[in-house]
Amino acid sequence: MADHSSTAPGTAHSADHGHDDGRRDFLLLSTLAVGAVGAGLAAWPFIDTMNPSKDVLALATTEVDLSPISEGQSITVIWRGKPVFVRRRTKAEITEAKKTLGEKDPEADDKRTKKPEWLVVIGICTHLGCIPLGQKTGDPKGDYNGWFCPCHGSAYDTSGRIRKGPAPTNLAVPPYEFTGDTTIRIG
């Protein structure tokens, strides 16, 4: 309101109230300050409703029992609405994975696993978000025996690293830990 010059008739800012004006300005400023704090606080509950709710957070971790998975087999589990590939790698696959760092997004295999036998990666192609093939026995696994994305032909190796095609980075490794010999908790 301070930026208009027209003083309306009868406005309180008249010169003969100098002393009062000072007190009113102080009162006005403190009221405005308190009001601004109140308005700011009032906005938070509205914003916070859009954050993940308790029932969503309760599902933010997924526990996986690894015991039924035999060597060379993969399972897909859902974690936070995304597919996670859990693969029990064969000796040959591990050796293959350890031989190289990959080219496009070099990373050592032991940085990508907690136990060499188990590879846990988020099953979403880092190119444009398709789900790569290679989980089921009949699926194409691509040139590097890992996963193959049917959308634009990205091929991942047995460590989930990008080796060929347009995807820029390796399949992401989700945060997880072993809670027992054959159980992991993702998230």
């Binding site: 009868g10 309180a12 008249s14 109230h17 009062d20 007190r23 009113r24 009162l27 006005l28 403190s30 009221t31 308190v34 009001g35 109140g38 308790k54 029932d55 309760a58 599902l59």
Partner: protein
């Protein structure tokens, strides 16, 4: 004139309040009790809630579901996460289709141990199963019961302790029990609480009065788990508003001082 108006408005509000009280149907009015959740500073007594949970779990839950509660909610009434997990693992819930796509094996559903993220296991698969097991009467879900009945926890407490012999000449239908607080005085639920039928972990004596109180308090929590947060926040916000409104009033007086 202002007083007339205020009187009229207040009268109106009171009238509406009276409507709520007056249309409480045929049952006897439940006596008003004191709860820790009452009033502006209302709060939960965690020990009471835990005892109430024991009563719910060991007595009520055999017929009554508490559909809105999750096992994870138990950490809000003083159980540790490990304890809540153990309680959950002790119950089983339908597991969903197995690899062969079956949900039932030999006619019974495939079950798995419950997780913290599961809702409390229900005693019956559906309302028809519940009726079939209870002489055609449907045990109501208890999670919102104190909000869904006039009198709230007072009513629940009165009902649980209100079983009596029917007065002479009262025609009780078969399989029904007499309860002065139940609308129509005949209730399909037999007196559920029996002295000493359960034992509390904290050593409290499990009298009928104690159990009724504890489980009613638990049901207040289950219906309004936000109650404590709500009242604490309310005090702060109203205090803030009183100060702010007082400031506004002072400013209003100042600004209007020169209007003649």
């Amino acid at each position: 004139m202002k007083t007339q108006v205020l009187a009229a408005i207040l009268g109106g509000l009171l009238a509406f309040g009276a409507i709520q009280a007056a249309s409480a149907a045929e049952g006897q009015a439940a006596p008003k009790l004191k709860w820790t959740t009452d009033g502006v500073t209302g709060h939960f007594d965690r020990a009471e809630l835990k005892r109430g949970w024991t009563v719910y779990k060991q007595v009520c839950a055999s017929c009554h579901s508490a559909h809105q509660l999750y096992y994870r909610n138990l950490t809000d009434i003083g159980f540790s996460e490990a304890e809540a997990k153990a309680i959950a693992a002790g119950d089983s819930v339908p597991a969903g289709p197995n690899e062969a796509g079956e949900t039932h094996v030999d006619g019974s559903p495939i079950m798995r141990p419950a997780l913290l993220s599961d809702k409390l296991a229900a005693p019956y698969a559906n309302a028809n199963a519940a009726r079939a097991a209870n002489n055609g009467a449907l045990p109501p879900d208890l999670s919102l019961i104190t909000k869904a009945r006039k009198g709230g926890a007072d009513y629940i407490h009165a009902l649980l302790t209100g079983y009596k012999e029917p007065p002479a000449g009262f025609q009780l239908q078969q399989g029904m029990a007499f309860n002065a607080y139940f609308p129509g005085f005949q209730i399909a639920m037999p007196a559920p609480l029996v002295e000493g039928a359960i034992s509390f972990d904290d050593g409290t004596n499990a009298t009928v009065a104690q159990m009724a109180r504890d489980v009613s308090a638990f049901l207040i929590w289950s219906a309004e788990p936000e109650l404590e947060d709500r009242k604490r926040m309310g005090i702060k916000i109203l205090a803030f508003l009183l100060v702010f409104t007082a400031l506004l009033y002072a400013l209003k007086r100042k600004i209007w001082a020169d209007v003649h």
